[in-house]
């Protein structure tokens, strides 16, 4: 703790900043100091306003309090179990079943005061579990017991935080369970100084807070780069062969299986996995293809690098290919030489020491607190596929002689069909979000998209794209409306910029003309309406075979149109 105090008084210049106000019902000075120190150690200059003892209500309810004057980015509310218990003992038996709800109402009122008219993140401590053992295990089912109410209160805080969106629970239970209350708590220090944690646990408390702040600042780790031999499995695949490596029930394999299972969970939550191994590529890949007990498979990795180049070089290449920050990488390798070479050459990369015994890998890495999150959506789990596809394209473009050959090698296929109800939400979303590749920037809701689809005088087409590296899903939509009996007007053409320069634009224009032809029209008129963001498509109609007929309008004759070359096949 004294170590963190030193860091706190000597924060390097040039670090990004964060303003944190700390309010609590216990002594918070040591915690505040440790938060500053931990921030400095993790690359964030946190200025902390540590308010006086037991000032939560005074600070939140008074609009002219020093907290509001400080204008914090975040507020950490530290509430201790000791005080909660004190309050509980003063609650009449008849009211104890509603104790948690009462305390929660008080806490959420503080959140509302803090949030009213302000953009502030609230870090709310959860109560560490402490059982007074008055009822033994029976307390866990007795609504009027302290532990029952404490657990209920924690759950209320978590559910409330989920609704409020700007509230982030700080959960100390992880390290409290790990080290035990005998270590984490010090009754003597609470009695003397109202210190809610033993001094030796304060760095853990500070880390729990700082890790959330780092995640809020977007400084979170995004990709785990993994060694193979003796990291993902026991043994050396080059020597032992796929049959001889230890995974699953063979030898010490269970420990590696557990590690792989954990990595798969991280992948599902949106982290990218990458392989960086000194191996022949075919030998390194073989277990992922042919070993029945492997949990991870090739498709779980965004990129797979196995060669004999130095690892720092390979990591640089991985970073460039995935196009993510060097400081968002974690490198995991059982070999101290490799770890040190990466630390030396690429200091921004996080390189955890690894315990010597692979049985301890999972517990150790869990304890490092590397993967804090402040949001999650079900889509995050699909991130690997997206990056994997992009990485494949980058590598393919490097090995192909010309861009044309590259496009041919992608084996691109598109679906081009009238709008159907399954796609209405996605088309509406694209219409709301597209700014750059958007010819007229008309925004449509889902209901309006449905209307266009049903309109007899409209021709609608949506486009999907996939190639041999992956499926990009629905990436473009066109709405053409009848101008007169001979003419269709392109009311809307939007496209995702992810698929630029793959001859998708050519494919779409060709489809516009052929659809117009099928519907019996003789001309198609397109329009470009300038916005501050859509300059990239200013000349697109003239480039793709339309003739300019006014400042904003372009026309194509259906019968004589020269179709553009495209490397995309229609499904």
């Amino acid at each position: 703790m004294a170590q963190l105090g030193k860091l706190a008084s000597n924060i390097p210049e040039g670090l990004p900043g964060y303003r944190l106000a700390v309010i609590g019902d216990c002594a918070t000075q040591h915690i505040s100091k440790a938060i500053r120190g931990t921030g400095a150690a993790k690359g964030l200059a946190i200025s902390v306003l540590d308010t006086d003892y037991d000032q939560i209500l005074a600070q939140t309810s008074d609009p002219s309090s020093e907290l509001y004057e400080f204008a914090p980015d975040g507020v950490f509310i530290m509430m201790c179990t000791e005080k909660l218990y004190d309050k509980f003992t003063h609650t009449p038996d008849s009211e104890r079943a509603g104790f948690a709800d009462g305390v929660y109402a008080w806490i959420s009122a503080r959140w509302d005061e803090l949030s009213s008219g302000r953009k502030v993140s609230i870090l709310q401590s959860l109560f560490t579990e402490y059982d007074d053992r008055v009822f033994g295990s029976f307390a866990s089912r007795l609504k009027t017991s302290f532990i029952y109410q404490l657990r209920r209160l924690n759950m209320l805080i978590c559910e409330g935080a989920d609704l409020k969106k700007n509230v982030y629970p700080v959960d100390f239970q992880y390290f409290t369970s790990k080290y035990g209350t005998d270590t984490v708590k010090d009754s003597k220090m609470f009695a003397i100084a109202k210190l809610p944690f033993a001094a030796s646990a304060i760095p853990e408390v500070a880390s729990a807070v700082v890790d959330i702040i780092l995640a809020l600042k977007g400084k979170s780790l995004k990709c785990l780069i993994l060694d193979l031999d003796n990291t993902l499995w026991g043994g050396v695949v080059g020597d032992d062969g796929t049959d001889g490596i230890q995974i699953g029930d063979y030898g010490t394999g269970k420990a590696f299986t557990a590690f792989q299972k954990w990595l798969l969970e991280l992948k599902k939550r949106g982290l990218l996995l990458a392989v960086c191994s000194k191996n022949d590529e075919d030998k390194a890949k073989d277990p992922f293809i042919n070993h029945p007990d492997m949990v991870l498979r090739l498709e779980d990795f965004a990129i797979f690098v196995a060669n004999w180049e130095p690892k720092p070089e390979n990591i640089k290449m991985i970073r460039e290919t995935l196009n993510i920050g060097m400081d968002s990488l974690v490198f995991i390798d059982d070999n101290p030489f490799e770890r040190n070479s990466v630390r030396e050459m690429l200091p921004e990369v996080t390189v955890p020491e690894l315990p010597e015994d692979p049985a301890d890998y999972v517990d150790f890495l869990r304890g490092e607190g590397l993967f804090e999150a402040v949001s999650y959506s079900a889509e995050d789990g699909g991130r690997t596929d997206m990056y994997r596809a992009e990485a494949g394209r980058v590598l393919a473009s490097k090995t192909c002689g010309s861009y044309t050959e590259y496009l041919e090698s992608l084996d691109m296929k598109a679906e081009a069909k009238p709008f159907s109800s399954f796609w209405f939400p996605r088309i509406a979303q694209l219409s709301q979000r597209s700014n750059q590749f958007n010819l007229r920037t008309v925004r449509y809701t889902e209901a309006e998209i449905a209307d266009a689809a049903a309109d007899k005088d409209a021709v609608t087409v949506y486009f999907t794209l996939k190639d041999r590296f992956g499926d990009s899903g629905l990436i473009s939509a066109v709405i053409m409306r009848k101008l007169d009996d001979e003419t269709l007007f392109v009311d809307t053409w939007i496209m995702s910029c992810r698929v630029l320069k793959r001859t998708m634009e050519e494919f779409i224009v060709n489809k516009m003309i052929s659809s117009a032809k099928e519907a019996g029209y003789k001309k198609v008129v397109g329009e470009y309406l300038k916005t501050p963001k859509n300059a990239m498509v200013a000349e697109i109609y003239s480039k793709l075979g339309f003739n300019r007929i006014s400042d904003t309008r372009f026309e194509a004759d259906v019968a004589s149109f020269k179709y553009n070359q495209s490397f995309i096949k229609e499904l």
Partner: protein
């Protein structure tokens, strides 16, 4: 407490005090008290106690934390209770 033990404890306390109060020139004696070290307040006292407890693998009693008058008293408790000197 024999001279050897006292010397060992003093050497270790000098290290801890220098570290906690961020002053390498600190040399404690039996009579050193909070009056002699400017940075020694109620806040740093808690840090000091924790560091001493960790270093000597022992715990002070609550009344000792609030009642110790000088480093001499601290040394006597350490000599009596420390698992490691």
């Amino acid at each position: 407490m024999n001279i050897e033990t006292e010397a060992k404890i003093t050497a270790k306390l000098n290290e801890i005090f220098s570290f906690v109060f961020d002053d390498d020139s600190i040399r404690v004696t039996r009579s050193t008290s909070a009056n002699d070290i400017e940075a020694w307040d109620s806040l740093t006292h808690i840090t000091l106690i924790s560091e001493v407890e960790d270093a000597f693998k022992m715990k002070f009693f609550m009344k000792e934390v609030v009642g110790m008058k000088n480093v001499g008293e601290m040394m006597d408790i350490i000599a009596e209770r420390a698992k490691k000197i």
